[in-house]
């Protein structure tokens, strides 16, 4: 339809151009006047009205300038039409096969770099700390990738399982005094149990309902954590959570059962930070390895098959509920592991850390990276976790830009940065991978 429109307006292009700009100006003004032009400010008791016309006109002006550039770009690209598509299709193919062949090498190189990072000259405490945060999100992204990317189930409350893991470790270690290594599997187990309990009734439902139920579940967990003061200490959270030990050797000063004493080196506060970094690297590596292995097993294949076509799966004798439930529970389990790690790293948990925004960030990591792509998760986590660290001075604008970036990336590349959605196995080689079947049935 767009083509027809450009052809008919070709003869009277100037007026159309002007009309478009006028429309943009009107819309931009209508959007900007009540929010940018005017500001309701509370001075003392009563609200007051402030005006910011210069700022507003500057913003509206830049929107118009952007629109002019966009229109020029579009009319410039619209003219030479015919020869381009073939060339582009060929180019795309080589890119995708290049990516496919070298994924393993890039993966190993990336992992090696991650393992060496703490020993590199520029790696101070700050770098290792950010690396740890980054790896937590990578691990959560890989865990959610099992649910969303492989099984095609839209989970908007993934952070709930993360919270279950974090609180399991926090409560067990502070109340019962059990060690981290014993609590870690328990945290995963509890999270998986919550996953089964939630998934069992709702996994029969269609994708969108599942999304809203998981969203609701995430909120319920947070509300319960906030209000069940006797059990969870409410909004104050749990503090004094035991820090991790090197298999029983604490990271503390002095002789005795300490890490520095064990290896006969001087005590440094850096040791614990580096240890935590390696711990999460191992956990994230485990998640990745597990996912890659699962994709070769019948259950993993069934996940992908279900994502593509549920009816076909049913007619082949796959029980959709059980298969989905396994994906849901395993995804939850990894969130539980990550939660336990989070809680031992921070030494403090509170319901504040488990808001919907966290779920949205993790989901964004999976989807922006390209669903089902392990490498994409790493790239997206880098973009969403590390880049904002570099632009600290724009702290105020961070979440706004984050949201806007999500929209822009989706509009430009709906299948994600690395998205190809290739099934792990095929019976017959397909020539062009242009099909984009819908996710979530």
């Amino acid at each position: 339809m767009a083509e027809i429109k450009t052809q008919t307006t070709q003869s009277q292009q100037m007026p159309a151009f002007v009309r478009d700009l006028l429309g943009t100006a009107v819309i931009a003004l209508a959007l900007a006047v009540p929010f940018i032009g005017l500001k309701s400010d509370s001075q003392g008791v009563a609200l007051e009205l402030l005006t910011r016309w210069p700022l507003m006109f500057a913003i509206v002006g830049s929107v118009l300038a952007g629109r002019v550039l966009f229109l020029l770009f579009k009319s410039h690209r619209a003219r030479p039409r015919t020869p381009q598509p073939q060339k582009r299709a060929g180019a795309k193919e080589t890119v995708s096969t290049w990516g496919g062949r070298h994924t393993l090498i890039i993966g190993i190189a990336g992992f090696a770099f991650a393992a060496l990072l703490p020993f590199l000259p520029f790696a101070n405490r700050y770098v290792v700390d950010i690396g740890t945060t980054f790896l937590i999100y990578v691990m959560l992204g890989w865990g959610l990738n099992i649910v969303v990317g492989l099984a095609g189930l839209l989970d908007l409350g993934y952070v709930a399982f993360y919270a279950v893991g974090a609180y399991s470790y926090a409560l067990i270690s502070t109340e019962l005094g059990w060690s981290f290594w014993f609590c870690l599997p328990l945290a995963g187990l509890f999270a998986a149990m919550f996953g089964v309990a939630l998934g069992f009734p709702v996994l029969r439902l269609r994708g969108d309902y599942l999304a809203i139920v998981t969203l609701g579940f995430g909120e319920i967990i947070r509300v319960v954590l906030t209000n069940w003061v006797a059990f969870t200490h409410g909004p104050d959270g749990i503090s004094g959570i035991p820090r991790p030990t090197f298999f029983g050797y604490a990271f503390s000063r002095g002789a005795g059962k300490t890490f520095s004493d064990l290896f006969g080196i001087d005590y440094s506060s850096q040791h614990r930070v580096v240890f935590l970094y390696f711990l999460i690297l191992a956990l994230a590596g485990l998640t990745n390895w597990f996912t890659l292995r699962m994709r070769k097993l019948p259950t993993g294949r069934a996940w992908e098959a279900l994502r593509e076509d549920e009816i076909a799966c049913r007619s082949l004798g796959i029980n959709p509920t059980n298969v989905k439930l396994s994906a849901f529970a395993l995804g939850a389990m990894f969130a539980g592991f990550a939660g336990a790690f989070f809680s031992t790293r921070q030494g403090f948990v509170s319901p504040e850390s488990f808001t919907f925004m966290e779920s949205a960030i993790i989901l964004a990591i999976v989807v922006l990276g390209g669903m089902g792509s392990q490498m994409g998760v790493v790239l997206a986590a880098f973009a969403l976790v590390i880049l904002p660290e570099w632009f600290r001075e724009f702290e105020q604008y961070r979440m706004f830009l984050f949201g806007a970036a999500m929209v822009v990336i989706m509009v430009l590349k709906p299948s994600g940065v690395m998205g190809s959605r290739e099934p792990t196995i095929r019976l017959h080689k397909r020539q062009v991978s242009d099909a984009q079947p819908e996710i979530a049935q």
Partner: protein, 304 residues
């Protein structure tokens, strides 16, 4: 009994507001099959615009209440509609043929961006307004407990009823409603018989935004406080209402909204106020288990 009736009145008022927001969700879902995650923010924007309109009018020295209300409602509907239209144009239209999750992520991104946009431009502090409509009537008294209906509650319930009736008429009887239903059933076919699909979808967003703006204005009047974060919870509850009533069905959205409002009011009154959000979601889960299509929804048949 008196307490029960009082809660019934409060619940109906709240439910009317949820119902108005839920219509926006249900219409958008019906026509393009996606969850318009940013709709809660649209409602929040409507509330803010009504606050700003009120401030403009009072600085101009207007104090005649009916005029004040009408101008607030109209200005809020107008400007919020522009937001609704822009959101569809910028974030959803390019993704109409994309995988479903892409549109949802774009919607979540839009929601985050709008929330922070309002926080950046209007500040994070709560905006408090003096009550515009005060007073009410006492219905009856029992054991010293007065059952009161405020004029504002009467206004909210009457306005919602009028809007919903008008809206049902619009969808059932007018050419615009027919085009909308046609697009809902089959977009390609509708385009072939001459329905301007793009325009119809835009109109849907504009109408949904206008209703959300009414809800926002009424919440501003009812609670007297507005902040940039009200959109999230209200949006989630209104979506719950839409699902509860059967998504895609207009009467369902209204019924669902009223039910959610009642559940919340009674739960806060008889159980604990802290867990009222849990109540709404738990009931949603129960309904979905036993009646997955919602109360008034039609069962969806999947075709191969």
């Amino acid at each position: 009994m008196a307490y029960f009736i009082q809660q019934l009145i409060n619940g109906l008022t709240l439910g009317a507001i949820y119902g108005l927001i839920a219509i926006g969700y249900t219409m958008v879902y019906g026509i393009i099959g996606m969850i318009n995650f940013a709709h809660g923010e649209v409602y929040m924007i409507g509330a803010f615009i009504s606050v700003i309109t009120y401030l403009i009018l009072t600085t101009l020295g207007m104090s005649y209440v009916p005029l004040l209300l009408v101008v607030m409602l109209l200005a809020s509907m107008l400007f919020t509609s522009v937001y609704g239209w822009t959101i569809e144009r910028v974030a959803y239209r390019p993704l109409r043929r994309a995988p479903r999750l892409a549109a949802l992520i774009s919607a979540i991104g839009m929601s985050i961006a709008l929330q922070n946009y309002v926080q950046l431009t209007q500040g994070a502090r709560v905006k408090a307004l003096a009550p515009i409509i005060s007073g009410g009537v006492t219905l009856f008294e029992q054991n010293g407990f007065e059952v009161r209906v405020s004029f504002l509650q009467i206004f909210i319930i009457i306005l919602t009823t009028v809007l919903m009736l008008g809206f049902s008429y619009l969808i059932d009887r007018t050419p615009l409603g027919r085009q909308q239903r046609a697009c809902e059933q089959d977009r390609t076919m509708a385009a072939l018989v001459g329905v301007n699909v793009d325009r119809t979808i835009s109109t849907t967003f504009v109408m949904g935004a206008a209703l959300a703006a009414v809800a926002g204005t009424m919440v501003t009047l009812y609670y007297g406080v507005v902040d940039f974060y009200i959109g999230f919870l209200a949006g989630v509850k209104a979506f719950t209402a839409a699902v509860l009533g059967g998504i895609g069905s207009l009467p369902g959205a209204m019924l669902g909204g009223i039910l959610i409002g009642l559940i919340e009011a009674f739960w806060s009154a008889y159980f604990t106020i802290e867990y009222k959000d849990v109540a709404a979601f738990s009931i949603l889960v129960l309904v979905l288990i036993f009646r997955p299509t919602g109360l008034l929804g039609k069962p969806e048949i999947e075709k191969v």
